[in-house]
């Protein structure tokens, strides 16, 4: 029996849990949905079983549309993670439950039950109370119970999640055997990549409600298309470099870009190599090897027959490392690999080269521009300029106060879009409360950068309190986990970036995000620290700025350090921006969903209110 999912979408309130998932699973296949917890994979399973109704999309089992059928009439067997066994019943009653409901004769039930118990390895435990079984035994009973009435589809929701490692591996083996023996189509949901590799015919990687990629274990591990799959499945190093005439450049490495991964000249390229593709040698390898550099072993951990080691190498010029994440304040290149357990390691210097590698699909940045169809179009002009520099796609969002006004707004925004020559942008018009609808759009689509402008007066709640910060803007700043560029006046090119680390808290993310943007724009970076005490900055501040500079180097950027004395941090920042005539001020935001983040005395808010220059607000990591 085959399973087909056709653009399944599910929301819980404002939260988009499943986002247009389409999938085809062949008869007899064991498909594993793999993703981090909270990625919506369990919801997909519940939708197939009919326990949850999708908002949009269809579910087909053997070509039959079952989208509106109740769970009782779908013929799916479901094994839950925990506590789903009927605890007040015996093992026999549990297994026979589905048969009894279907009014099957006692003799037949008994026969079926005995053969199933034999199959799951619990023969003879028929009369044991379910509550007297161990966790592993309970899950075996749950499996037998789900298989008793011979369902066409078996759905398993993290069935081994709550069990210890040894029992888990035993159960996996039994499950695989039984599934193949009965030739039942199965979907298993897990966050454990080892489990996925062990069981799956095919794996589907799920991230934030979206099916990112599907394919065989081998393909997903060695030739992933996306960064998410590359980093979620197995360990690996991911570097960002630059494309030039069909080749990808990562410092001294120049690799041919394979055909199915198109890249324009100058665009970003992501390189993946796995620990087992790293080749270490004591002597400098021959000329024709892909030499990365000479590194020192900084970490090692024992893993039985092998040991995991991490080497620290000098950073490659014009590259940035995404995985493993480089700690704040370091600018080295980190390479993980495995060595035989008896290999002496401590403090040793080794040559690192690549035995294999893979280039990921070109990631395209996404910009969102909020526009309400009137007022200045500076933010649209800056968006066009940025989109060209970053080769990013642009979504224009307009929110009409009521559904009837959508057409009028849509026309107005389109006219402004033409005026700003922002022709490739996709226009989305929503209706409702502007702040709320913007928050929903931001939750549903992952944007790399949001661009907004001063919002006209009629959107203000309490003008005196929010001054030039409109309610919509405030809401965007409160809700998004993407950086927000607030634009008030025309200002392009953006060639001088001021990153403020003044507010006491070291804004690590400000430095990373601001630095990255500056690099991609070819802009110059200054790091500012404001003190209110003496002329002399504290040693702590100095260390912090030095770390920030090192982190910038890791992003292939250089930066100047400035110290400044002022009564308040915001005064210092505003004065520095004026004197240095900076084009972008980078300040820290808040962690998403912390409501009290923007108070009147907030540095970020004061900077936003006190300058006409573009301000990039970077949310804290969460």
């Amino acid at each position: 029996m085959s399973i087909v999912l056709d653009r399944i979408t599910k929301r819980y309130g404002k939260q988009l849990v499943v986002d247009r998932i389409s999938l085809e699973i062949a008869e007899g296949e064991l498909f594993v949905l793999l993703g981090p917890s909270g990625s919506g994979k369990s919801t997909v399973l519940r939708i197939i079983a009919g326990l949850t109704l999708p908002d949009q999309g269809r579910v087909l089992l053997s070509g039959r549309d079952v989208t509106s059928l109740p769970p009782q009439r779908r013929g799916t067997g479901f094994v839950f993670q925990n506590y789903s066994i009927f605890r007040h019943m015996t093992v026999a009653q549990n297994i026979e439950f589905g048969l009894k409901i279907r009014k099957i004769r006692a003799a037949e039930r008994r026969q079926k039950r005995e053969s199933l118990l034999e199959m799951v390895g619990l023969a003879g435990l028929d009369n044991r109370l379910a509550s007297q079984l161990s966790g592993g035994q309970q899950q075996r009973v749950a499996l037998a119970r789900a298989l008793a009435y011979e369902p066409d589809v078996l759905l398993l929701d993290e069935p081994f999640g709550a069990l210890d490692a040894k029992i888990r591996s035993q159960l996996r083996r039994s499950l695989r055997e039984i599934q193949q023996k009965l030739h039942v189509t199965a979907i298993l949901v897990t966050h454990d990549q080892e489990e996925a590799f062990e069981l799956a015919d095919r794996i589907g990687a799920v991230d934030r409600g979206r099916l990112v990629e599907a394919g065989s274990c081998q393909a997903l591990y060695s030739q992933p298309r996306t960064l998410f799959t590359a980093t979620f499945l197995g360990a690996g190093m991911v570097l960002v470099g630059r494309a030039e005439q069909g080749r990808a450049h990562f410092g001294p490495l120049s690799l041919p870009i394979p055909d199915p991964v198109p890249h324009e000249d100058g665009s970003r390229v992501q390189l993946l190599f796995r620990p087992e593709q790293v080749v270490l040698s004591q002597t400098k390898p021959a000329e024709d090897t892909l030499l990365v550099g000479k590194g020192t072993i900084t970490e090692q951990s024992f893993r039985g027959g092998v040991q995991r080691v991490r080497l620290s190498l000098p950073r490659l010029p014009a590259t940035r490392q995404i995985a493993p994440p480089v700690p704040f304040g370091e600018d080295s290149l980190l390479v993980d690999t495995v060595l035989p357990a008896d290999h002496p390691t401590a403090g040793k210097e080794l040559w690192v080269s690549l035995g294999g590698w893979h280039i990921l699909e070109q990631p395209r940045s996404r910009l969102m521009v909020f526009d309400n169809g009137s007022g200045s179009i500076v933010h649209l002009q800056i968006a066009r300029w940025l989109a060209e520099r970053l080769s990013a796609s642009v979504t224009l969002l307009g929110v009409a106060a009521e559904p009837g006004r959508s057409d009028v707004l849509s026309k107005a925004v389109k006219r402004r879009q033409e005026e700003a020559k922002l022709l490739d942008a996709e226009l989305r018009v929503r209706s409702g409360d502007p702040a709320e609808q913007t928050a929903i759009e931001l939750a549903e689509t992952l944007y790399d950068l949001v661009i907004a402008t001063r919002v006209p007066r009629r959107f203000f709640f309490h003008e005196s309190r929010l001054d030039s910060l409109g309610a919509v803007l405030l809401k965007i700043l409160e809700h998004t986990s993407a950086p927000v560029l607030v634009v008030k006046e025309q200002r392009a090119p953006l060639s001088r970036v001021l990153i403020c680390t003044a507010a006491g808290e070291p804004g690590k993310n400000d430095v990373r995000v601001g630095g990255r943007l500056a690099r991609r724009l070819g802009a110059e970076v200054t790091l500012l620290h404001v003190t209110n005490k003496s002329q002399d900055p504290s040693p702590l501040a100095r260390t912090h700025l030095q770390q920030a500079i090192a982190t910038l180097r890791g992003a292939d950027m250089t930066g100047n350090m400035h110290f400044r004395q002022a009564a308040t941090p915001s005064e210092g920042i505003l004065a520095e921006a004026r004197e240095g005539d900076y084009d972008v001020i980078v300040v820290g935001g808040h962690a998403p969903r912390t409501r009290s983040a923007f108070r009147l005395n907030d540095v970020t808010r004061q900077v936003l209110a006190g300058t006409g220059r573009p301000v990039l607000v970077v949310p804290q990591e969460f």
Binding site: A49, P70, G77, R87, A146
Partner: protein, 278 residues
């Protein structure tokens, strides 16, 4: 399993306790005994003060027997009603996250917070002479106040929270996984409830039911207001006790009190017996 537990506790060596602990245990026992056993002994003493014959005579008078019958019928009916509706309310409060859920959840405790006398007064306001709903009940030919329907309403009101408060935590604890499993196995909602949910919450439910019954037996304040206390007609045992005391018929009062207390205790002890057996 309980057998082996008992055996192990018998075999285990004497537990060492600090002096403070011993004092605390002693205080708890003395306090509970004084508060609970004292009145019970007084009731026994009072009802037997004129001999066993007087006791038997007083509890078998026509008024005493009709009062006791009415009490048991009211308690049984109120328990039945609150079992069904209590289950429904508990279900809705746990499973459905609707707007105003917290308000309803708070309202459920109202009968605990409001004096039963006030509850009785509210019923009179609604159904008494010139009451807001009296014209409706009159047109239906039903007399509510100073009759059994009103007394039943009062008892139901007073005992409403017990089943809900006992069932809600259990329902919350078992979650929906077992029910969902039953659905995927082909069970209808009713089958899932009957075969899966109800057995899982049965102890909580039973506890709530016995508390409801025991409380209903002893209800006095609300009934005093709505019943009118017509002896042989709307007089329950508690009202009968009250009237007997007024009439200085102490043996009748104590004897009936003892019977009522015995009924309530038996329900609770039966409950404990079932609990220890699970």
């Amino acid at each position: 399993m309980s057998k082996s537990e008992k055996a192990s506790s018998a075999a285990s060596p004497r537990v060492r306790r600090s002096r403070g602990e011993r004092v605390l245990i002693g205080a708890a026992v003395v306090y509970a005994a004084a508060l609970l056993l004292g009145p019970l002994i007084a009731a026994v003493w009072g009802s037997l003060s004129e001999g066993l014959a007087a006791f038997v005579r007083e509890i078998t008078t026509r008024d005493a027997i009709t009062a006791l019958r009415l009490t048991v019928i009211l308690a049984a009916a109120a328990t039945a009603i609150n079992t069904v509706f209590g289950l429904c309310i508990a279900w809705v409060l746990v499973r459905d996250k609707f707007q105003g859920r917290r308000i309803v959840n708070g309202l459920v405790d109202l009968p605990f917070a409001v004096s039963p006398v006030i509850a009785g007064l509210m019923l009179i306001l609604l159904f008494g002479r010139g009451g807001w709903l009296t014209s409706i009940t009159d047109s239906m030919g039903v007399k509510v106040v100073f009759a059994t329907p009103g007394m039943l309403l009062a008892t139901v009101f007073v005992t409403l929270p017990f089943v809900i408060r006992e069932v809600m935590p259990v329902l919350e604890q078992i979650g929906t996984a077992q029910e969902s499993a039953a659905y995927t196995l082909g069970a209808s909602s009713w089958q899932a409830f009957w075969h899966v949910t109800l057995p899982s919450i049965r102890w909580g439910l039973l506890y709530g039911v016995s508390l409801t019954f025991a409380r209903a037996l002893g209800e006095f304040g609300a009934l005093l207001v709505v019943s009118g206390g017509i002896s042989g007609l709307t007089e329950t045992s508690t009202l009968f006790i009250f009237r007997s005391l007024d009439d200085r018929n102490y043996v009748a009062a104590y004897a009936t009190a003892l019977v009522l207390a015995f009924l309530s205790f038996s329900v609770l002890i039966l409950m404990e017996f079932f609990k220890s057996r699970r």
